[in-house]
């Protein structure tokens, strides 16, 4: 009798503890969602003055003139998309080959561990260091290239920024690609080998088709990272508020114009126009992330 009472007491205590644990977990999850929503709301409310004053001209306008109060973010949007896509174009072949090498050819061993760590370390380097490295190493190289091509030898610009950006985003896509390649079922590969397929044929006809959606997810993740990158791009893009007319032209991105002008932005519409750029960037990256998630989900199911 007494034993039973004690048992129910213990069970009740365990149940309470379980419920408490569950509540704590869900609370932290909900707080995160609320936080994200609040961020969006803050951006929206703070950019209302500029939305009212500028309307759609903010998106298609090409002049950013704080003195006369004219704010159009088109050249920043173009600069952001151009550098990000260019960086993606440069980095994807490298991420794919690194992923194949680590996932298929050398999944184990000291060398692959070293390479894996080195790639992941690339993600940990602060972006201001990439910027410095770009200024002192990449810029002189690009400048001599420009001199050979007859372009003005400035050194900084869309091309330089994309080049450094591409190195910065390699770890993001390479890690994911390596992961999905290691998830390709061994039975599939062995079946192909037993039919006499070469290693290249296995990669070409089995692995690549199998990881297609994982591959795109990795690329999208890298794109999301490239879109928001600020410091290194600011240091290397030349910060010119005009639509770039060539690969070597200077430009500006949404993130870097915020970083550049936020501290000294006086005037209601000016301040709020900068926040609207943030809102714009928030929306663009959110859309890209949602697409990426959906592709990953399809891959998992």
């Amino acid at each position: 009798m007494q034993l039973q009472v004690q048992q129910t007491r213990i069970i009740r205590r365990l149940k309470i503890r379980e419920a408490l644990f569950h509540k704590t977990l869900s609370l932290s999850a909900i707080i995160l969602i609320i936080l994200l929503f609040c961020m969006f709301l803050t951006l929206l409310v703070s950019s209302l003055p500029s939305i009212k004053a500028l309307g759609l001209k903010f998106i298609y306008g090409n002049t950013w003139d704080p003195v006369s109060g004219e704010f159009g973010a088109l050249s920043f949007l173009v600069g952001t998309l151009l550098t990000s896509l260019l960086a993606l174009l440069i980095s994807t072949p490298f991420s794919l080959t690194i992923g194949l090498f680590l996932g298929e050819y050398y999944p184990k061993g000291w060398f692959s561990a070293l390479l894996k760590n080195a790639v992941e370390l690339l993600a940990g380097i602060p972006s201001v260091i990439y910027g410095f490295w770009g200024i002192y190493f990449i810029v002189p190289i690009v400048r001599s290239l420009e001199m050979k091509l007859g372009a003005p030898p400035i050194g900084v610009g869309i091309f330089t920024a994309s080049l450094v950006l591409s190195i910065m985003i390699i770890p993001f896509s390479a890690s994911l690609i390596r992961l999905v390649i290691s998830m390709v079922p061994v039975t599939l590969k062995e079946a192909a080998y037993s039919l006499g397929a070469t290693r290249f044929e296995v990669i070409r006809y089995i692995i690549i088709p199998y990881i297609r959606s994982g591959l795109s997810a990795g690329i999208l993740l890298a794109l999301g990272r490239a879109l928001g990158e600020t410091m290194a791009v600011t240091m290397l893009i030349g910060n010119t508020q005009a639509l770039p007319h060539s690969l070597f032209a200077t430009g500006d991105t949404m993130a870097s114009v915020i970083a550049n002008q936020f501290t000294e932005a006086t005037g209601k519409v000016y301040f709020s126009a900068l926040i609207e750029i943030g809102l714009f960037l928030f929306v663009v990256t959110t859309i890209i992330n949602i697409i990426g998630r959906n592709i990953i989900k399809r891959f998992e199911s």
């Binding site: 400048r143 240091m235 030349g238 910060n239 508020q241 870097s256 501290t263 000294e264 932005a265």
Partner: protein, 354 residues
């Protein structure tokens, strides 16, 4: 299990206490005159931190200055979260009106903007205001342009494209430079005009004085504008500029101070660029401390208000000795006297504080 819970609870309590202490700090600072808070311009930050360090050692008053930029300093003063603000440019009439109380401008020292360049062979360069304007407007595009060679007949100027390098971040330096160009060029005045950030007609942007200086140093054929200190520290070339009286002036602490030897308006809100002073370098400006005329706002104490005024008085008198070693031009005597009489207006409930 209970033990762990107790430990966690204790940790939480500790954290809460720490948080309470942290939140409480600015409030306690409100009452004490042993600690003053200021925020604003980055340009005078090295000078101010040296001054405040000396002030702390001498008078035992701790001054916490946050160099968050002039815009931020004005905002903090508007919200009354600081004892004083600091700005490179004086407040405009509109900005003054938007403040909740009458704001007094006290100049503390002078800064200058220098034209720096990178030409192979490193020749000495003389420039006039209209040539500077046309270079930055993108109208003069080659170093061997006739207008440049006729100004500098002895210098070897190459057939090289001019790359204009300007600030990409909003800054007081850009404000002073564009204020000068607006005064000397009607075209510049209508577009791009005067401001901390502009729609630049030519060139590329770099972040900060160090960014512009570094980019000029790296890029052959480039021209940019930076604060005096960066020219001296980086040992880069800077042009002598013709002033309003027709003299070519090299920027030095002396010629910068000299630019303020003009008749100043009563409220000391003045643009010194294109100065009338004969020996004055033409691209200079004051940097200001901003404080409210009526100090009895919020829950401020008389003691606190007095501490603030004492500090600012010290900055324009004894504190001036720290300017020159740090490459800031000290206030000329007349300006210091004008600032001192301006400080006399500051009061607490009608009672003067000095």
């Amino acid at each position: 299990m209970m033990k762990i819970n107790r430990k966690i609870a204790l940790g939480f309590a500790g954290l809460l206490a720490l948080l309470a202490f942290y939140v409480n700090q600015p409030v306690s600072a409100q009452g004490s005159s042993k600690e003053l808070i200021g925020a604003g311009a980055t340009f005078p930050y090295p000078l101010y931190s040296k001054m405040f360090d000396a002030y702390h050692k001498g008078k035992g008053v701790q001054v916490n200055y946050q160099s968050i930029g002039s815009g931020g300093g004005i905002k903090q003063l508007e919200n009354k979260t600081v004892d004083f603000g600091a700005s490179d440019a004086p407040l405009s009439d509109e900005e003054l009106k938007a403040m909740p109380g009458q704001v007094i401008h006290i100049p503390t020292c002078l800064g200058a903007v220098m034209i720096t360049y990178n030409i192979p062979g490193n020749p000495k360069l003389k420039l006039t205001s209209d040539v500077i304007a046309d270079i930055f407007l993108g109208k003069i595009t080659k170093w061997n342009d006739k207008r440049l060679t006729s100004l500098n007949p002895t210098a070897k100027l190459p057939d090289l494209a001019i790359t204009v390098i300007h600030r990409s971040d909003g800054s007081g330096t850009t404000y002073v430079f564009s204020d000068y160009l607006s005064k000397v060029s009607n075209i510049w005045k209508t577009k791009p005009g005067t401001g901390k950030a502009l729609d630049w007609p030519a060139g590329i942007g770099a972040k900060g004085n160090e960014g512009v200086g570094g980019m000029v140093k790296q890029t052959p054929g480039s021209i940019g504008y930076v604060e005096l200190a960066y020219v001296i520290q980086n040992n880069i070339s800077a042009a002598t500029v013709k002033n309003k009286s027709g003299n070519f002036i090299e920027a030095s602490l002396k010629s910068i101070s000299a630019s303020a030897a003009v008749k100043l308006p009563a409220d000391l809100r003045v643009s010194l660029t294109n100065t009338d002073a004969k020996d004055g370098y033409p691209i200079t400006s004051f940097t200001y401390i901003l404080l409210y005329e009526k100090q009895n706002y919020g829950d401020r104490t008389m003691e606190k208000a007095k501490g603030t005024v004492e500090l600012v008085t010290w900055m324009i008198t004894k504190g001036q000795q720290f300017a020159e070693p740090l490459l800031y031009a000290p206030l000329p005597k007349e300006a210091a006297a004008a600032a001192n009489s301006r400080l006399k207006l500051v009061n607490f409930n009608g009672k003067p504080l000095m």
